[in-house]
């Protein structure tokens, strides 16, 4: 009854093309943003359950936000443009290490002329990290002009393994630390030092909100339609006058930019100090899972998928403890593997289009309720 758009007349083109044409959706979004921006910090300040301690913020909400960002990035590439990528971890790593280099000062002796950039503040470092990731994304996107599908997936694996190796072996990227692990510079945003979990959370939230809004608008616009045309049938799209070169490479660039920012945040805000292992092939698969489970070609789906894939292992880890079943830690971790795999298979069988499709179906049902026509 509540979710009905009767009487909401659109009297201008702007109203017709709004992101959320239904008033209830807009209200729901504002409520959600209010909870995220005001409610959670307030609850945290009051230390109300479940916010007592920092566990929920530090171990669930911050990684959720950052990985959602990465999932949005991959969704643009795989879900909207149809280019399967297994190299998300590599693009995140490029973002993280570039941001680190920019944040601590770049010095590259090239013989004839040296490149020396003084240490930049954190915000430009993170954004430049995204730009570097975009450049790398374009480079590894070039093969997509000739190959597609699973072949392309293997080509992106080349990026994954190559950058794994680069960040382990080329010590220039880690400023020659002996252990190979690097520590992020202080998170100083225009004099505001971000340190407490709640501040870190708000920082990620701002990034995620801005990027998600930008992404949502991109995929609704001209370029987004070009991507979807390429995804649905690239030859037909080409015949209609869409340039595959431009469409595919912009998808790679924007998607890698977002993943690069996500990587920089993951390193700077969530991990603090990290090793190349933080961005290995498992990370790529994790993000791919989020996108598939959440729903290909849906920004909302990226968030739902990220929540599911991130929270599931944590929940599974807690269940035996809560029930008081004595199982060894090792068994639990293996059990998490099995259950995660089984749930993924099951979800793919019952809803191959992911949570986003379930959401749409539910929305349709609500709009028609109580009359099923």
């Amino acid at each position: 009854m509540l979710y009905r758009e009767t009487g909401q007349f659109k009297t201008s083109y702007a109203a017709d093309m709004a992101i959320f044409p239904i008033r209830q959706d807009r209200i729901a979004l504002y409520v959600l943003l209010a909870i995220a921006f005001i409610g959670i910090p307030v609850l945290d300040a009051l230390q109300v359950w479940p916010f007592a301690g920092e566990y929920l913020l530090r171990a669930i909400l911050i990684p959720f936000l950052i990985l959602s960002l990465a999932a949005v990035g991959l969704n643009i590439l795989t879900g909207y443009c149809g280019q399967l990528s297994l190299g998300s971890g590599a693009f995140m790593a490029v973002g993280a290490y570039s941001a680190y280099k920019f944040g601590t000062g770049v010095h590259l002796p090239l013989g004839l002329f040296d490149i020396a950039i003084p240490a930049l503040p954190v915000l430009p470092s993170i954004l430049l990290g995204g730009v570097m990731a975009a450049a790398v994304g374009i480079l590894f996107g070039v093969p997509s002009l000739r190959i597609k599908g699973l072949y392309l997936a293997v080509a992106t694996l080349a990026a994954q393994f190559f950058f794994d190796w680069v960040f382990i072996r080329v010590q220039w990227f880690t400023n020659y630390t002996s252990s190979g692990s690097v520590t992020a510079p202080e998170l100083n945003f225009f004099g505001l030092i971000v340190n407490k979990p709640v501040e870190r959370y708000l920082l990620c939230l701002i990034f995620v909100t801005v990027v998600a809004l930008l992404a949502k608008n991109l995929v609704r616009g001209n370029i987004g339609r070009q991507w979807m045309a390429i995804r649905d049938m690239d030859i037909a799209a080409e015949l209609m006058g869409i340039r595959p070169l431009y469409a595919k490479l912009t998808a790679f660039a924007i998607s890698s930019f977002i993943m690069g920012i996500a990587g920089a945040l993951w390193a700077f805000v969530y991990l603090g100090s990290w090793e190349p292992l933080a961005f290995n092939i498992d990370r790529s698969f994790q993000i791919l899972f989020m996108v598939i489970i959440g729903g290909l070609g849906s920004i909302l789906g990226s968030f739902l998928g990220a929540a599911f894939i991130l929270v599931l292992p944590i929940m599974l880890d807690q269940v035996p403890h809560a029930l008081g079943i004595p199982i060894s830690v090792e068994t639990v971790s293996l059990l998490v593997f099995v259950v995660t795999g089984a749930l993924i298979c099951w979800l793919l069988i019952v809803e191959p289009h992911g949570f986003a499709r379930l959401w749409l179906t539910g929305k349709e049902k609500l709009r028609l309720w109580p009359y099923p026509y």
Binding site: Y151, L157, W165, L296, L343, C345, L348
Partner: protein, 309 residues
């Protein structure tokens, strides 16, 4: 002559290591040909087969059975485990997913990978188990021609011979048996094969079973070489560039691709490695695959991709 001898040694060890990659890649090709499923679980199946084999073998030896008898029991047990896996995968995962697109099926096999990896280690233990099936020492060849001779490890030679037998066996199975012909029919056209009375369920079970047995063979060789352990599953990832180079649908392609990857990465490691920091084996195969893809998108032996609107 020392340099040439060294080159030969690197080349031979690379080619033989490549044969072992081919063993894993073969399993991929079989399933892809017959069902269009890109089976990511092949590496996990190698792990499962290896664990089943080595645990049954250890148990039998501990009960006082002679070693060859224990090996037979182990092989039979592992084969039984693989056929059960094939049945379960077909019945509960792929069966309900008929007619979904390739990406969904690929994701489903990643789910299967998780189940098999977790399940296998829960059932059979998660340590490193040595598998003393083949001799692991080495021969020195041509000691008169080259100083120090050429070192060839026996296990690699065994692997090569087993792969040869396996390929001949598979070729006979595909060409000469009724089931093999049915498999090729399904690979050509699912609907047409169904219309002449071939049961898809049955064929897919057979395909997964054959892939499971290939995984078992790969597990005997890799298990002897590295010990049966979790890291064997990463072989699956090494088999991907092999597939790309050879083409997804070609059995000879898997073999040749394996040889190219094996020899290429060993030679690159030996001659390029020292100058750029070593460890390039880690990504060389993938970059090689990328180069091949740019020149021939369907791989060296793949069928030409023809697209229509």
């Amino acid at each position: 002559m020392v340099a040439f001898g060294q080159f030969l040694e690197v080349l031979i060890s690379g080619l033989l290591a490549g044969v072992l990659y081919s063993l894993v890649a073969l399993g991929f090709v079989l399933i892809f040909k017959a069902s269009g499923v890109f089976n990511f679980a092949q590496g996990a199946m190698v792990l499962l087969a290896g664990l089943a084999l080595v645990r049954a073998l250890d148990l039998m030896v501990a009960k006082g059975m002679p070693f060859w008898g224990a090996v037979i029991v182990g092989l039979v047990f592992a084969a039984a485990v693989m056929s059960l896996t094939a049945y379960l995968v077909e019945r509960f995962v792929l069966g309900p997913l008929v007619n979904q697109d390739g990406l969904t099926l690929f994701m489903a096999t990643i789910g299967v990978t998780f189940i098999i990896e977790g399940g296998a280690q829960m059932l059979f233990g998660a340590e490193v188990y040595p598998l003393p099936l083949f001799p692991t020492d080495a021969w020195f060849l041509f000691e008169k021609t080259f100083e120090g001779g050429i070192l060839v490890s026996k296990i690699d030679v065994w692997g090569g011979m087993i792969a040869a037998v396996l390929v001949v066996g598979l070729a006979l199975f595909f060409q000469r048996t009724k089931t093999g012909r049915a498999l090729r029919a399904v690979a050509d056209d699912h609907a047409a094969a169904q219309s002449v009375g071939i049961s898809l369920d049955w064929i897919w079970f057979i395909v997964w079973l054959v892939a499971g047995l290939v995984a078992l063979v790969a597990a005997t060789v890799w298990g002897t070489k590295l010990g049966v352990q979790f890291s064997i599953t990463f072989l699956a990832l090494k088999a991907l560039p092999v597939l790309i180079i050879g083409g997804f649908t070609s059995v000879p392609g898997a073999i040749v691709g394996g040889l190219i990857v094996g020899a290429g990465e060993k030679i690159a490691e030996a001659y390029l490695g020292p100058s750029i920091g070593g460890g390039i084996e880690y990504w060389f195969a993938y970059v090689l695959a990328l180069a091949v893809l740019l020149a021939r998108p369907q791989g060296l032996f793949g069928e030409r991709i023809i697209e229509r609107i």
